[in-house]
Structures are given as C-alpha cells and as structure tokens.
C-alpha cells in the first residue's frame, strides 16, 4: 500500500484506461470484493433489524445498536471500496494563483474609487446627510431589541419578600415552631405565602439552623437575631447564587456544592474556604407568643452574588 507514496503523481486528464494510476490499490480485488459483500450484507441485515425493532417497539438500546451497527458496516464497506477498488492515484492538480493580475486589480479599484467615489465626492453634503441618517437609523432601530426585552433592575436586587413579622414556613407552607428542629438540624424556609412563587424560591430562600439551646450571637450588634439557638441565613451563595445546600454538622459549616465555598454558621456565615467573597446575609429572627418563628425585618443587605450597584 505504500507505493501510493512512491509513484509520481499524474494529472487526471488524458490517462489511458490501463494507466497504472487508474488501477485499484488491492493486489487481489476479488478478496476485497468478498469482504465488502459481507459488510454490505450485514449492514443491510442490521438496517432491516432496526426497522423491525422500531415496529415491534423493542427497548431503546436495540434501536441504537441496530442503527449504529448497520451504518458503521456500510461506512466501513464504502471506505474499503473507495480505498482498495478505485483508482489508486496519486493524482495532481495545479493550483491557480488566487490573486488577479495587476491590471485587473487596478481596474477593479478604479471602478470603486472613481465611479462610485466620484458620485459621492461631488455630493458631499448629501452623502454626509445620508450617512448620518443610516447611522441614526441603525442605532434607533436597536432600541426595541434591547429595551423591550425586560424591566429595569431598579431596586429589585436590594430587597426580598421578607419583612417585619413574616412567618417562616417550609416548602409545604407549614409554619416553623421553636420545638420543631433538633439541635444540629436545618430546614429551608420561605416567607409565608411565597413558598411556591418564583421570587420566593429564587430570592427569598433561607436556611434555618438550630445550633444551640441558648440564645447566641453570631456577631456584634446581632444579639437578638438568633432566639433559642435558631439562626437563619440567606441560602443564596454570595459567589454565584447557587443554593448553599450542604451542611457539615460537626464543623457547623454551610457548603455550596457548586464551587465549594464554606461558611461558618457560628460567626455570621463568614466564608472560611473557597471563592465566595462575602458572608451570607443573616435574617434577624424573633419568636411569637405561640412559639412560631418570624423575621424581625428584611435582610440588611442584598442577597446573592455581587453586582455593580451594591455598595
């Protein structure tokens, strides 16, 4: 098969039928024909089997197996035909220079510059006016393609649906009582009434953890925020907004499964590891007369990942 490389390439045109370049590569073409026959016969069989598998509604993998095997067998057969039974070559084709002659180039450039340019140059004012118009049109016509797409962000990103006295409810809408969680367990909570809305799910989602039996303070100035050891943080990672869905109970770390940021529950969810730059915002909590948990107010800072407008 190597003699392909050794023979001098010839042009395709003007070859006699017995020219060596037009002979097949195979030394024993009959043998290759037999192999290809077998490939094609089995290719046909598998193709028909695909039809049967489809009509009989066999398992999905049988569809792919029959189709894929049939196609592959045909493919190998066709390539073998092309490689071993067709003219072995090699053939040569001359490249024609892509570039035009100097005269053609000049004539073309002249046509652009003189014919078209001349027309414009003589009417500079009109051309300038038209250019300004086209420019203005192309900018103005973009407006609907941009502005109509969605609302302005305005203050949307700065507040959530949490407010003074919002009851904490779980995903089924049940209010959370101080007796509900054992120490070390956690639940995802939403402001009451928002648990099945897009905004409630995507923005308000908050993780409630019971860390101790006592009131405890995560940071200075948050003395009243975690009554009876219940502490609540926004569940939106400050890195890219994934839900911080993993809790390492012994180390009291919230872990984001997306890029492994870790937040220490005890000191105000300050990131201890990973790419997250800011603590998770803490939700100030209080307990009503019946022992149900409520929020004192909204988060004191925007939740989720960083953006230009936040300070």
């Amino acid at each position: 098969m190597s003699d392909h490389e050794q023979r001098t390439p010839v042009s395709l045109t003007g070859l006699s039928a017995d020219a060596p370049h037009l002979q097949p590569l195979a030394r024993r073409p009959q043998m290759v024909e037999q192999v290809i026959t077998v490939l094609f016969v089995f290719g046909l069989l598998f193709t028909l089997l695909f039809g049967v598998a489809f009509v009989q509604n066999w398992a999905p993998w049988t569809l792919g197996a029959t189709l894929g095997t049939g196609m592959s067998l045909f493919g190998i057969g066709i390539i073998a035909w092309g490689k071993y039974l067709m003219p072995r070559g090699p053939f040569v084709e001359e490249r024609h220079e892509l570039a035009s002659s100097d005269a053609e180039r000049e004539a073309f450039t002249a046509a652009i510059v003189e014919r078209g340019g001349g027309v414009i140059k003589r009417r500079k004012f009109l051309a300038g006016l038209l250019g300004t118009g086209v420019g203005a049109f192309s900018i103005v016509s973009l407006f609907p393609w941009v502005r109509s797409l969605g609302p302005m962000p305005k203050g949307t990103l700065f507040h959530t649906d949490w407010g003074k006295g919002s009851y904490l409810v779980d995903i089924s809408g049940r209010r959370v009582n101080v007796s509900d969680l054992t120490i070390g367990s956690l639940v995802t909570v939403f402001p009451e009434g928002m648990e099945h809305t897009d905004n409630g799910q995507a923005v308000d989602q908050t993780v409630l953890i019971r860390v101790t039996n006592q009131d405890f303070t995560t940071r200075k100035g948050r003395e009243t925020w975690a009554p009876q050891g219940y502490v609540a943080y926004s569940k939106l990672c400050t890195h890219l907004g994934c839900p911080v869905g993993l809790y390492e109970q012994e180390l009291e770390l919230l872990v984001c499964p997306c890029h492994q940021s870790m937040f220490n529950v005890n000191n105000g969810a300050v990131p201890t590891f990973g790419p997250a730059p800011r603590p998770l915002p803490q939700l100030p909590l209080m307990v009503d007369a019946n022992g149900f948990l409520q929020s004192q107010s909204d988060f004191h800072e925007p939740v989720g990942p960083g953006f230009w407008e936040r300070s």
Binding site: M1, S2, E5, Q6, T8, P9, L12, F54, P60, L63, G64, A65, L67, G68, T69, M71, S72, G75, I78, I79, G82, P87, P90, V92, E93, E94, R95, R147, G150, P151, P153, T156, L157, F190, N199, Q201, V203, Q205, H239, L240, G241, C242, P243, L246, P257, H259, Q260, P271, F273, G274, P275, P277, G304, P305, G306, F307, W308, E309, R310, S311
Partner: protein, 506 residues
C-alpha cells in the same frame, strides 16, 4: 447561441447525457462541474478531524429537528401524567415534562435525545482537535487567516449553542447552570444587571428564558453555524487544501485522490461511520439522564455535578480563583466572578483570533503557504500551543476538585491549593520541555520512522559483520522528511550572513 445548440453532436451517454444536456443548456454546469469532480483531495489522516466535526453537525441537525417536534419551551407548571411513573402527580414545568416524555413516551425519542447530546460533545471535540491540527501544522498562515477566524467563531458559537441546548430540559442540573450564567452576566461592571434583566425578562429565574433560549438554540445560532460552515467550506474549495511536503508535492499543486468517485466514497463512508458511532453511543452510553436529576426548583441543588466538558475550563477556573472582590466608591465589582469568566475567556479567544497576525508580525513571514509545517520544525509555535493546552487541561481538572478530594481521600483544601500551584507550574514546565523535544526531533531526519535492523553476516574467515538493512518499504516516503528551513528563519544564535532577510527566531 441557438444555432450552436442545435448543431451540437448528440451526447453519447444516454439518459444521463440527455439530463446533462438539458441542464447545461440552461445553467452551464458542465465546465465548473468537471472541475469540481476532478478536485484533488490530499490524503492524510489528520484531514479527517474536521470531517468528524462536519458530520456530527449533520447528526445534530437531523436529531435536533426530531426533538423540536416534541419539546415544549415553557416554564408553566403542569401536573405530570406521563409515562415516567415516579413523577406522576407532581407539579413540574412543561419543558421538563415534555423532555421526560420525549425520553419515555416517544418511540425512538430516548435514542434521539442521547444521540443529540453525544453528537454535540463530539462536534465540539471534533472542532477542537481539528483546530489543533490546523494550529500545529501552520495551516492557518496566509492565505487562510480568514478561515481560521471563521473556525474560531464556529467554536465560540458551538460552545454557546451547547450550553443553551443542555439548559432547555429544565432539570435540576441545567437550572443550576442557568443560575450561574445569570450571576456571571450580573457580575459585569456597570451594565451587568441591565443585561441580565433584559435577557431574562427580570430577576432570576423569570418566565421567558426557556422560550428565548429555545429560539436561539433551534433557529438563530444554527443558522449562523450553517452559514459559517458554508463559508468555511467555500473558502476551502477556493483556496484548495494544504498538504504535507512529499514526492511531487509543491506549493503550487495538490496531490491526492480526486473528488469523484474516490474521495466521495471515502467521505460518505466516514459520514456513515460517524453517524453509526454516535448511534452506538446513544444506545449504550447513557448521557444526561434528566429523570434522575429531577426538575429544577431554585431552592434545590444537586451535589458533585459538572457541566459538559467544553464548559469545564470555565467551571474549573471559577473554583480555583481566589475570593477577590473590589469594593469602593459605593460600588462592587465581583472580581472573583468577572475576571475568570468574563475577562479570562475574552483574552483567551482574542489571543486565538489574533494568533495568525501575531505570528506573522513575529516572523515577518508574509508569504503564501500551501505546504504544512512539521510541528517540531516550529518549536516556539508548538511549545506555545502545548503550553496553552496544558493550562486549559489543568483548570479543566480543577472543575472536579470535590470529586478528586473524595476519590483520593484528601482534604478539599489541599486539592484546591495544589490546583492553584499546578495551574502555574505545569504550563511553565510544558514550554521548555516541548521546546527541547522539538529541537531534539529536528536532530535526526528519520524522526517518525522505524529504525532499520542490522543484518549480521559471518564471513568465511569467521568474522561477523553488521550491515544495516534497507529502509522499510513503508517508511520510504518523504512526507516526514525534514523541510528546508525557510529563509526568514535563522538558526538560534548563528547569524546567516548571505540572505539579508530580517532576523527572526525559530
């Protein structure tokens, strides 16, 4: 003209001849058609890599059209009453419900979905290896810079197309991916929140994004891809193929097999093999089992999931980038997001786009090139390419820090620190090592060929004499022989006095 057509002698080729007569009278196809049939394609296995991309694109179009008949791009919640029993009675989005039913209730649907996903991974992978071939052999040089630009655009578009595609089923994994994409857009200074709100029609998740992703994925980007693939192939025909140096091969010709019928047979067979391989993968290798992930709710998340491979380098660099945040003058720039996912890919692709111009500036080489380089004869280019590959591969591995930590039972912290170090160390090692290997390879002209044996003979006097056997017949070709060093390149520190061309390093 009318007289000449009537006085023509009859075409001796029967029915085919008649059809061609009729067509040629009206369209004049014979002359150009003959040139096309005689077009010569050079033979080399590496020219097949681009065909992998082209033919998996064909599979993508065919399977994709099938999928559009069943998929519903809507996030409206419905109560599921379909074929997949664990979901029955649950409130899920129409997009997810239709994707699950497409897999279980539509005959052949699961195969089509899996083939579509596999074809996508093979498409992007095919583009990447094809691009590597073009880069390392210098096929991007003048006159083919524009085609390099088109190819790079095809890569960018197909990565985006892939992301949009795997976002559509609205399963838990893809929903998280969209959430991350939203946050990345939001992180762009000044305009980020506006772009995110306009694209998603409001704050995440909004209700319009699936519909918008759908029309981008099934119409706009495929149209752009089709147009650019057409332009890519048109330029290839216009400029003709590059080829490796060899017997009878010059800058001014192409040596190989003609379009009709030899190349046509080989390439059609290859189309069948690519399609067949994708069908077999779709049958036996499960990919993206969305019914196992569950439907997307923004407050839920899955663990140890990675995006498709072509997004891995971005996910990896996000993980190993330190938590830098710029915060001053009442504004925040989330550098921990903006730098790795906006600035870094921007620089990366700008470098790829600009490479032909950079190399031309560096070597001062403004000639037309139709013969390809052996990578070892361009050590600096090869080393630069290998360095970039090693860097991207390292940050790609970085996207599995959690999996690595679990697998080797080491702390996540250790893995992260090691990945940060390796990101700098491995590329820094790759460059000099590649350079050295290239220069070593240049040292002997038989590189890439088998060593010949020595034939030991015993003379009548009892003396043993070793003589080298002739070169293997298979190795006697010239393709891998050393190239003459072009005049614009000179050896390391030796000055070439005679030519007077500008000095450049090799």
């Amino acid at each position: 003209m009318s007289t000449s057509t009537t006085t023509r002698r009859a075409n001796p080729y029967g029915k085919v001849g008649q059809v061609i007569n009729e067509l040629d009278d009206r369209l004049g196809i014979a002359k150009g058609g003959r040139t096309l049939l005689d077009k010569v394609f050079p033979d080399h296995w590496s020219f097949m890599l681009g065909e992998i991309a082209l033919y998996s694109f064909v599979v993508l179009l065919v399977t994709g059209i099938f999928l559009t008949f069943y998929y519903v791009p809507s996030s409206t919640l419905v109560v599921y009453h379909g074929a997949y029993l664990p979901l029955v009675g649950q409130k899920i989005s129409q997009a997810y419900a239709s994707s699950v039913d497409l897999s279980f209730a539509v005959r052949g649907g699961l195969l089509m979905r899996q083939m579509h996903h596999w074809a996508c991974d093979i498409f992007v992978g095919g583009i990447l290896v094809h691009m590597a071939r073009v880069f390392f052999t210098g096929a991007f040089r003048k006159p083919r810079e524009a085609n390099w630009t088109i190819g790079t655009t095809l890569l960018v578009l197909s990565i985006g197309e892939g992301f949009l595609g795997y976002s559509l089923p609205d399963d838990l994994v893809s929903g998280t991916g969209i959430r991350i994409a939203y946050s990345i857009i939001e992180s762009i200074p000044v305009v980020g929140t506006y772009v995110a709100f306009f694209l998603f029609g409001g704050n995440f998740p909004g209700t319009v994004v699936l519909g918008r992703f759908f029309i981008l994925h099934v119409l706009l980007i495929p149209l752009a891809l089709l147009g650019l693939v057409g332009a890519h192939l048109f330029m290839l025909v216009q400029q003709k193929h590059t080829q490796f140096p060899g017997k009878g091969r010059t800058e001014k010709n192409v040596v190989g097999t003609p379009m009709y019928p030899v190349f046509m047979a080989k390439t059609t067979g290859f189309l069948f093999i690519v399609g067949g391989a994708i069908a077999l993968l779709g049958a036996f290798a499960q990919i993206n089992p969305i019914w196992q992930f569950g439907f997307y709710e923004p407050a839920r998340i899955s663990y140890a999931v990675q995006p498709d491979f072509y997004m891995g380098f971005l996910d990896g660099i996000l993980r190993i980038w330190p938590a830098w945040q710029f915060n001053a003058f009442g504004h925040t720039i989330p550098l921990e997001v903006t730098l790795p996912t906006v600035v870094f890919p921007g620089i990366l692709f700008a470098l790829v786009y600009a490479w032909p111009a950079i190399e031309r500036k560096y070597t001062g080489d403004n000639e037309l090139h139709n013969l390809l380089d052996r990578p070892s004869f361009r050590p600096k280019r090869t080393a630069a390419g290998v360095t970039m590959f090693v860097f991207l591969a390292t940050i790609f591995v970085g996207s599995s820090t959690d999996v690595i930590a679990n697998f080797f039972k080491v702390s996540l912290n250790t893995v992260l620190v090691e990945m940060r170090v390796l990101t700098f160390v491995l590329p820094a090692l790759a460059y000099p090592i590649t350079l050295k290997i290239c220069k070593e390879l240049q040292g002997f002209s038989g590189a890439g060929k088998r060593k010949t044996t020595n034939i030991v003979t015993r003379t009548e006097e009892g003396e043993y004499v070793a003589t080298p056997a002739p070169v293997y017949v298979d190795d006697a070709h010239h393709e891998l022989d050393a190239l003459p060093v072009p005049t614009f390149v000179i050896e390391d520190d030796e000055l070439v006095v005679s030519t007077g061309v500008r000095r450049a390093e090799r």
